[in-house]
C-alpha cells in the first residue's frame, strides 16, 4: 500500500521563477487584477483591498474583489476556479489554508494567471510572490519589546492568540518564545497561550480566564486584531485596568478608546492599506514581466518606493507602526 514513507509527495509545481525577468519592462495597462481575501465582511481585508484598488487604479488596470462570506479554504478554491475561468491576469489572495488552495492556484497559474499572496501565505511553490506585512521575526521582536517596556521588564505574561491553527500566529508565537530567551528578557515568564478563535466573545472570556488563573499576570500580548480589542474591552471594564498591561496587533480605530482611557499604552500594526497596495504592484510587476519572483528581483511600488524580492519570493512591507496616545489620532483605519 501507500504509506507515508514510500509516498512521493512532490506536487511538482516549483517553477515560480521560470523565465527571465526584464527589469525595464513597463507596467502593462488594463491588467485584470482580482483580490481574493480570506473572507469578505472582514474590515481588515476591506481596508487592504481598498489599498489594492487604489494601486490598480494608478496603473490603469481592472480591479475586482471577490471572496466567500465565511473564511473557509474550500470556498476560496471555488473562487479561485471562477477567477481562472474568467482569465484574470493576477490573483492576489490571502490563504485560509496554506495547502488546501494550492491545487486550484496551480491550475490558475497554468491558465496564465500570476499569483500573489498577502497577509497569509500558501506553500511557496503555489504562488510567485508572498507580500509579507512584516517578517515574523520583526513581529516577535516588536511585541516582546513592547510588553517588556510596559511591565518594566519583569513578571508573568500570557499570549492571547487567534485560532489554534492560524499559521502566522503560530509562527509568531514560536519566535516570541525564542525572543524571550534573550538575556534582557530573563525575568519575563510566558505562562500560557490562550486561543480566542478570533471570536470576540471567546477572546473576552479567555482574557477573563487568564486573569483568574494567573493572579500574578502582568501583561498580555494579543497579536490579533479581534483578540486585542476584546482583551482591551475586558480590561477597561475590570479592576485590572491599567494594572495588567496589554499590547498586541490592533487597528487604531478599535483601540483608540482603550489607549485614551489608559487601558493600553501602546500597540502595533502595519498599514493594511499599504499591504494591499504593495501586493497589487507586485502582481502587476509579475504580469508585466518586470519580475519573475526570483530572489533579487526589484520593482517599484508607486508611493511606497522600491522593493526587492527576498528568499522564496517573499516581499516584506516593512516594520510595523507603533501606536500610542501621542500618534493614534493621526490614523484612521
Amino acid at each position: 500500500g501507500t504509506t507515508r514513507d514510500n509516498s512521493d509527495n512532490d506536487s511538482g509545481a516549483g517553477n515560480q521563477a521560470s523565465g527571465a525577468a526584464n527589469p525595464d519592462a513597463a507596467i502593462k495597462e488594463g491588467l485584470k487584477i482580482a483580490f481574493l481575501p480570506k473572507q469578505l465582511n472582514n474590515p481588515y481585508f476591506t481596508v487592504s483591498d481598498g489599498g489594492g484598488k487604489s494601486a490598480v487604479t494608478e496603473i490603469k488596470g481592472e480591479f475586482k474583489e471577490v471572496g466567500p462570506s465565511e473564511a473557509s479554504a474550500s470556498s476560496q478554491v471555488s473562487y479561485i476556479n471562477t477567477l481562472s475561468q474568467q482569465g484574470m491576469d493576477v490573483i492576489v489572495t490571502s490563504a485560509n489554508d496554506p495547502n488546501a488552495i494550492c491545487g486550484a492556484l496551480n491550475q490558475a497559474k497554468t491558465a496564465g494567471a500570476k499569483i500573489v499572496t498577502f497577509d497569509s501565505d500558501t506553500k511557496p511553490e503555489c504562488r510567485q510572490i508572498f507580500v509579507n506585512q512584516v517578517t515574523a521575526e520583526g513581529i516577535a521582536e516588536n511585541q516582546v519589546k513592547l510588553i517588556s517596556q510596559q511591565i518594566g521588564g519583569e513578571g508573568e505574561i500570557a499570549i492571547l492568540s487567534a485560532t489554534a491553527n492560524a499559521t502566522n500566529q503560530n509562527a509568531w508565537i514560536a519566535l516570541m518564545k525564542d525572543e524571550l530567551k534573550k538575556p534582557e528578557y530573563a525575568k519575563i515568564k510566558l505562562v500560557t497561550v490562550a486561543y480566542g478563535n478570533d471570536d470576540d466573545q471567546k477572546s473576552f472570556q479567555e482574557t477573563q480566564g487568564l486573569l483568574q488563573s494567573y493572579p500574578n499576570l502582568k501583561g498580555i500580548i494579543s497579536p490579533t486584531t479581534v483578540g486585542v480589542a476584546a482583551a482591551g474591552r475586558y480590561l477597561s471594564g475590570s479592576q485590572y485596568k491599567g494594572k495588567v498591561k496589554l499590547t498586541g496587533l490592533g487597528t487604531p480605530n478599535q483601540m483608540r478608546q482603550y489607549v485614551k482611557d489608559g487601558t493600553v499604552d501602546a500597540f502595533a500594526l502595519w498599514s493594511p492599506a499599504d499591504l494591499g497596495y504593495l501586493a497589487a504592484y507586485a502582481g502587476a510587476a509579475l504580469a508585466s514581466g518586470q519580475i519573475t519572483g526570483a530572489e533579487g528581483d526589484k520593482f517599484k511600488a508607486g508611493k511606497l518606493g522600491e522593493f526587492t524580492v527576498g528568499k522564496d519570493g517573499v516581499v516584506v512591507l516593512g516594520p510595523p507602526t507603533v501606536f500610542d496616545k501621542n500618534n493614534i489620532d493621526q490614523f484612521q483605519f
Binding site: N9, D10, K64, G67, S74, T82, Q85, N99, G103
Partner: protein, 351 residues
C-alpha cells in the same frame, strides 16, 4: 416511541381545511420532483446563454467537484429526513474523519488504503453514536445531533490540534480531481452516481423504502406493520456516518489538507439542498431525484452567480430566498388552485 406524537405531521389532514392541497399540487406540477428538475434545466439554459464562461468543460469540472460532498451527504440525509429525523452532525463527522485521516497518516505509518477503510469505519461508529442516542434512548434527533455537532467538531480539534496534515501522496490527491479521459467530468462523479442509484432504488423500489415513508408519517403504525423502526433508523444514522467518512476522505485528498475545521457549516447547505429537493422536514414525503436536482440547482446558481461577479453577500441572500420560495411557492400555488376550484364549484350550485 414516546416522541411519535411529536413527529406528527403539522396539521393533520382531517383537521386542516386545505388537506387536499398536496394532492392538488401533485396534479398541477406532476410532482415537486419534476418542478425542481424543470427549474434546474431552466437555470442551466439561462446561465449557459447569459453567463460568460459558464458553458465550458472546465467550469463543469469545477462545478461537479464542488458538489461531490454535498451530493454524497444529501443521499443518506434524504432518507433520514424522510423518516422524520435529521442529522445535523454531518459536517462535524466529515471534519473528524478528515482529522483522523490526517493523524493516522502523520503518525501511524499505516498504508493509506488501510487508513481510508479505518476512516469510513470511524464515520460509521460516529453515526452509530447518533443512532444509539436517537433510537436507543429515544431522544429527538435534532437535539442529539446539535450536541454531536459540537462534540465531534471539538474532538476533531482535540485530535489534530493546531496542525494541518498536508503531505498526502500527489497521485492520490491528483486522482480526486482527474477527469474521465476525453471528458471534463471528474472521475469521482461515477461512484457518486452509483451510490445515488443504490439509494434511489432502496428508497423508491424496495420494501425497506416503503417502510421509511411509513415510519416518517406514523412510526407507531409502522411498528404495528412489522417495521423495526428503531433498528432501521439506527442503521440510517450509521450509513450517514459512513458516507461522511467517505466525504472526509474526499475532502482531505481534494484539498490535500486534513484540518479540524474542514467542512464547517456544510450541514446547513445539505439540509437546504434536501428541503429544496422537496423532502418534507416533518418526514414521510420527498424523493431522491428531487434532492439530486436540488443539489445541482444550488450548485449551478452559485456557480453562475459567481461567474457573473455577483457579490458573495447577494449569494447568501439568494440561497435563503430560494429555500423560502421552495416551501412557500407550492403552498401558494395550491391555495390559488383551491380557491379557483371552490369558486368553480360554488357557481353551478348557486345557479
Amino acid at each position: 416511541m414516546a416522541h411519535d406524537s411529536l413527529y406528527a405531521a403539522p396539521p393533520t389532514a382531517e383537521a386542516e381545511p386545505g388537506a387536499g392541497r398536496l394532492a392538488t399540487l401533485r396534479g398541477l406540477l406532476g410532482s415537486w420532483d419534476t418542478a425542481i428538475v424543470a427549474a434546474l434545466v431552466v437555470a442551466v439554459l439561462v446561465a449557459g446563454l447569459t453567463v460568460e464562461n459558464f458553458a465550458t468543460g472546465r467550469n463543469a469540472q469545477f462545478l461537479l467537484l464542488d458538489l461531490v460532498p454535498l451530493a454524497l451527504i444529501a443521499l443518506p440525509m434524504t432518507l433520514i429526513v424522510i423518516t422524520g429525523e435529521i442529522d445535523l452532525s454531518v459536517a462535524s463527522m466529515v471534519g473528524l474523519c478528515s482529522t483522523l485521516m490526517g493523524q493516522l497518516w502523520l503518525s501511524s505509518g499505516l498504508s493509506l488504503e488501510l487508513i481510508c477503510v479505518l476512516v469510513v469505519l470511524l464515520g460509521a461508529v460516529l453515526g452509530a453514536v447518533n443512532g444509539l442516542f436517537v433510537t436507543g434512548f429515544g431522544l429527538p434527533s435534532l437535539a442529539v445531533t446539535i450536541g454531536t455537532l459540537a462534540l465531534y467538531r471539538g474532538l476533531s480539534f482535540v485530535l489534530l490540534g493546531d496542525q494541518a496534515v498536508a503531505d498526502f501522496p500527489a497521485d492520490w490527491t491528483a486522482a480526486m480531481v482527474r477527469n474521465i479521459p476525453g471528458t471534463s467530468i471528474p472521475v469521482v462523479v461515477v461512484p457518486v452516481l452509483l451510490l445515488a442509484l443504490v439509494f434511489g432504488v432502496v428508497l423508491h423500489a424496495t420494501p425497506a423504502g416503503r417502510a421509511l415513508y411509513a415510519m416518517g408519517n406514523n412510526d407507531q403504525a409502522a411498528t404495528f406493520t412489522g417495521v423495526s423502526v428503531a433498528r432501521t433508523k439506527f442503521w440510517l444514522f450509521v450509513v450517514s456516518g459512513a458516507v461522511c467518512g467517505l466525504v472526509g476522505i474526499f475532502w482531505t485528498l481534494r484539498y490535500a489538507s486534513a484540518r479540524g475545521d474542514n467542512a464547517t457549516g456544510l450541514e446547513l447547505t445539505v439540509v437546504t439542498a434536501v428541503l429544496l429537493g422537496g423532502v418534507s422536514i416533518f418526514g414521510g414525503r420527498g424523493g431522491l431525484l428531487g434532492v439530486l436536482a436540488g443539489v445541482l440547482l444550488l450548485g449551478v446558481l452559485r456557480n453562475a452567480l459567481q461567474l457573473a461577479d455577483v457579490d458573495a453577500n447577494a449569494l447568501t441572500i439568494v440561497t435563503g430566498t430560494l429555500l423560502i420560495a421552495s416551501v412557500v411557492l407550492p403552498n401558494a400555488v395550491a391555495d390559488i388552485r383551491a380557491r379557483l376550484h371552490r369558486r368553480r364549484q360554488r357557481h353551478p350550485v348557486a345557479s
